[in-house]
């Protein structure tokens, strides 16, 4: 680590450092300060120390419901979405006709993001009058309204997350593209079969990207907001069955005007996500192989 390298490094870092100091850091520190206040957004914040955190821990049963919903969602949606994304990316990385078309079609649902159209379309599938129940009705079964039942609502949102697996899929595809062909050629010369090549070349070479997708999906899933917002109209219903953490945070901030409490919730979430991310980074040294390490 010579001085010269330091200069070059900070030159490359300069856009981010300027952005961090001028745009990002201030609001982040401000939100931490607000978490120690009672703040209704219109009057000046009142310092109350850790009261918001204490209230969250001991007096708010809906807060625990939101934790439960969010953790269930993270544990279900992240592995399933990644498995789909990786599987389809593998399938689409081969030399098939019409590949561009398939890739685009599989990405299509992800283009919808959190638009209004998604809410209506998802109701069209999982509501009481939706296509699934119409099919069930042909067999004489009167199905429930999946999307608004306390038993199934969360799973329909997990299904929505899986349906929108396009982003990690594209990142996997980009990762597969980066694996040099000559490694496979060399392995072939050594007599390696397809399974061998998959296990000892594709997967290890892809681990940095798998790691990236894993970490980002976890962070994203903990912050999941849009799907529940558009489908339950921002209420986390029915009966709080889809009360995601950030949805509850949003309700506290913008419906109940408790911005101090919402900020405290945000910082606890940062703690949770930070722990999960740190654990991922610690585990990475055992399974992620970087090209620059050899």
């Amino acid at each position: 680590m010579d001085a010269n390298n330091n200069v070059a490094a900070f030159l490359f870092l300069s856009p981010w450092l300027i952005g961090m100091i001028c745009l990002t850091l201030g609001p982040i520190l401000a939100s931490f300060y607000l978490s120690l206040t009672s703040y209704d957004m219109f009057s000046a914040p009142q310092w109350i120390g850790f009261d918001n955190y204490i209230k969250m821990a001991f007096e708010d049963s809906r807060y625990y419901q939101s934790l439960k919903v969010t953790f269930s969602y993270v544990f279900l949606s992240v592995p399933l979405k990644l498995a789909f994304a990786l599987g389809i990316a593998m399938l689409l990385n081969r030399g098939l006709r019409g590949l561009g078309f398939y890739r685009s079609v599989f990405y299509l649902p992800s283009l919808l993001g959190g638009s209004v159209a998604v809410a209506i379309m998802w109701r069209q599938v999982f509501s009481y009058d939706g296509i699934i129940n119409q099919v069930l009705l042909k067999f004489g079964i009167d199905g429930p309204s999946w999307i608004t039942s306390t038993d199934y609502a969360l799973y329909t949102l997990v299904a929505l997350a899986i349906w929108q697996f396009g982003s990690p899929m594209v990142i996997f595809l980009a990762g597969l593209k980066q694996i040099p062909q000559d490694i496979y050629d060399a392995a072939e010369v050594d007599g390696a079969g397809p399974i061998r090549k998959f296990v000892s070349i594709t997967i290890p070479m892809l681990t940095p990207i798998i790691f990236f997708n894993f970490v980002m999906q976890i962070i994203g899933a903990f912050q999941a907001f849009t799907p529940a917002y558009i489908i339950s109209g921002g209420k986390g219903g029915p009966a709080d069955a889809t009360l995601f953490y950030t949805l509850y945070l949003y309700e506290q901030a913008f419906t109940n005007f408790q911005m101090g409490y919402a900020s405290a919730m945000a910082w606890v979430l940062v703690g949770i996500i930070g722990t999960a991310t740190a654990a991922s980074f610690l585990s990475a040294r055992y399974w992620v192989h970087y090209g620059d390490e050899r």
Binding site: D40, R123, T148, T150, G233, K235, G237, A239, N256, F257
Partner: protein
């Protein structure tokens, strides 16, 4: 303070110039034309017709008053409340904006909006306005907003479904018991995937009217709860019984409907005959349905009790003025123009789908308005014959609290008593501050 403001203004202009340089699409004119008074008017879209007419009225005003530039800032209702809150908290609230009754109380209480009593009755003369609407735009005895459109509670009723079931549409003066029986009869006739009435257990206005039938009300004029725990328990128990007798759909089917949105309602999907809502949704419901829908009154009492008109009209949206606006006089003049200038009011109301709050304008509408307008006016006239006490502002997020408790009962997680306790606990916490 004024130094700070000046510095901010300077910064703002500088920023606008940089912005203009950076993104060529920025209208340069608006950055330089500083002679004009700029008034920001924020509102939410209730319907395309309302948006079109509001913009036309504002344009007309600026044509007549070239020294004023009005910047309309409209968006959907859900997005609007977040936007107003963010702008206000950030110190940049629009000069004038739309509010509904519950938001009004919240904003008024915190000094976000300013009382307008100094301008009533001159130049804003509300004497021939629906008094219940005028009252609903008051907080703490002060007039915080000017009501724009008159609405009232109603049951949107699918007349075609009643016909198909061979059931006669009940009279206006009917009881909550009759509502339950009629709904069950509809399920028997058109069953099993058809229910008579959509569950309104999580809906504020019908709950208030139910409470009024018991001689209580949701809120009092001094912003306190106007009922006892057992009244609310009776409300949740009423809907629980309707669920048991299949008069109203089970929890999961009902939970599909949200936010008074016709597109999610059972009446549009063809699995319910009655939906308890407000008159301004009528056109929206009819537009999505192929059946013949009519406006019907909600129950007015209990069997054996006194039958009386328990409903009230109020304003669907009102215009309020930011407490920080430096252009208050201009804002008032714009409101005056939209409400009392013959040309302005005509542009603002005709074809907007809004029913004017003023009696004179309503009478003119009754002769010339669209068919839907006339149906609503006729219905509101019935409500006006013997007006009930007005609606008082509640607290934001109240519909959420009411719905959550009702869903707790519907999904078997709470008894009606527990639901009532939960609701009272949550509302009280909001009223305290």
């Amino acid at each position: 303070m004024s130094v700070l403001m000046n510095r901010r203004a300077v910064l703002r202009q500088g920023g606008a110039l940089i912005g203009a340089a950076a993104a060529s699409s920025l209208p340069l004119a608006s950055s330089f034309a500083q002679e004009k008074v700029r008034v920001r008017f924020a509102g939410y879209v209730e319907s395309q017709e309302q948006l079109t007419q509001t913009l036309a009225a504002l344009k007309l005003y600026t044509q007549k008053n070239p020294n004023v530039e009005i910047i309309p800032e409209f968006t959907s209702f859900g997005a609007f409340t977040d936007k107003i809150a963010t702008e206000t908290a950030g110190g940049n609230s629009p000069d004038m904006f739309s509010v509904n009754v519950d938001l009004l109380a919240e904003y008024a209480r915190r000094g976000v909006t300013t009382p307008l009593d100094a301008y009533v009755p001159n130049p804003i003369n509300l004497s021939d306005y629906l008094q219940s609407a005028v009252n609903a735009a008051k907080f703490d005895g002060k007039q915080y907003a000017i009501p724009n459109d008159a609405i009232g509670p109603t049951i949107i009723t699918n007349a075609s479904a009643f016909e198909k079931a061979g059931i006669k549409i009940p009279a206006d003066m009917w009881t909550w018991e009759e509502l339950a029986e009629t709904a069950t009869a509809l399920n028997k006739a058109l069953g099993p995937r058809f229910w008579g009435v959509e569950d309104a257990g999580g809906n504020y206005i019908p709950c208030d009217i139910f409470l009024r039938s018991r001689g209580k009300s949701m809120f009092t004029q001094d912003h306190r709860l106007g009922f006892e725990l057992e009244d609310m328990e009776a409300w949740y128990a009423y809907w629980q019984k309707l669920r048991e007798t299949r008069a109203t759909p089970p929890g999961d089917v009902q939970a599909l409907a949200g936010n008074d949105d016709p597109s999610t309602s059972g009446i549009v999907a063809g699995r319910a005959a009655m939906n308890i809502t407000l008159t301004d949704s009528f056109a929206g419901f009819q537009a999505l349905s192929q059946d013949n829908l009519i406006l019907h009154m909600m129950p007015n009492g209990f069997r054996g009790g006194e039958m009386k008109q328990r409903h009230y009209c109020y304003a669907g949206n009102s215009t309020t003025v930011s407490g920080k606006s430096p252009n208050q006089k201009h804002v008032i003049d714009i409101i005056r123009f939209m409400h009392f200038d013959p040309e302005g009011a005509k542009t603002y109301y005709v074809g907007s789908g809004m029913i004017p709050c003023s009696k004179a304008a309503r009478d003119a509408f009754a002769a010339t308005g669209s068919e839907a307008d006339r149906k609503i006016i006729a219905y509101l006239d019935v409500l006006q014959k013997e007006p009930a006490a007005p609606r008082y502002p509640g607290v934001p997020g109240m519909t959420g609290m009411l719905t959550r408790a009702n869903e707790g009962v519907a999904f078997g997680k709470l008894t009606p008593k527990q639901a009532a306790e939960q609701f009272v606990r949550e509302v009280s916490a909001r009223l305290k501050k």
